[in-house]
Symmetry: C2
Subunit: 136 residues, 2 copies
DNA sequence: TTACCAATTGCAAACATTAGCAACTGAAGG
DNA sequence: CCTTCAGTTGCTAATGTTTGCAATTGGTAA
């Protein structure tokens, strides 16, 4: 039990931020948070959407619970999960915006590479113009 | 055969998002991004601020470079780094907001635990009062 | 009661990341 | 030339995370 302290009052803020982002750094957990951004979901509803076996989903839900990003509420024989903060939805949106930019940058880089003709002169290296669109 | 389909030919979006967040999930990298949020910094300027040995910082900068979150520009014998997107600054801000809420929630939980006298009644569970600003 | 279903937990193997050290490149100065 | 400084890269032991399986809990129905 050494590594993870439940609530460290003294941990530096950037350490906490890193742990926070690390919590988001898993496909299943992202998927869950996106689904919960739309509305509350029972585990049985999440299961087919994320396509992993129940035990695995439960583990990842536990991670999100420990990080206080979601809460589970028992209802009959099932458990319904929801976000603890609406800001999380915003965070995912901003992340997508950045990701779009990053991918655009990489696409441009690819194009630059492709623009270099096999045996002709040196790479032109166009001066970099940012992009407009943001698809889903 | 219907059912679990990988959704996209290329990497699914939530996979990319997870990788993106994982990139942020390290104290040194967070520290660097925060410093670069203020202004451009040379590696030699970052070094004393983050307090790790040069090789380690270089590795973490390489991670951020590969993720296309920062760019390095050689200037004389030093390298100056800057963010590729101003949105990153916003992301860190939103993250702090969420983190503040999360920590507030945990603090309340601690207080609840503390409020339970050794042999007296059940935990009172106060109804949730929103937060107070917090320093960087 | 027993059986079943939804969800969770514990554990160990497979996997990925981190951090420290030595070696290397490239530029500036003697 | 040689030396030094700023950064980077390669390698590897230590560490942390993921994930599949078995066992478990708690609720519901027969």
């Amino acid at each position: 039990m050494a590594g993870r302290e439940a609530v460290s009052v003294t941990a530096p803020l950037y350490q906490l931020k890193a742990e926070f982002f690390r919590t988001l750094g898993h496909p299943v957990r992202i998927r869950v948070l996106e689904l919960l951004s739309q509305r509350e979901h029972a585990v049985a509803e999440l299961l087919p959407q994320v396509g992993v076996e129940p035990a695995h989903l439960s583990q990842q839900l536990a991670v999100l619970r420990r990080a206080n990003l979601v809460v589970g509420r028992k209802e009959g024989s099932s458990v319904r999960y929801s976000l603890t903060s609406p800001h999380i939805t915003g965070l995912l949106t901003v992340a997508r915006t950045i990701l779009t930019g990053v991918l655009t940058g990489q696409a441009e880089l690819l194009q630059d590479l492709r623009a270099v003709a096999p045996e002709t002169g040196p790479p032109p290296h166009q001066p970099h113009q940012p992009r407009q669109p943001q698809p889903s």
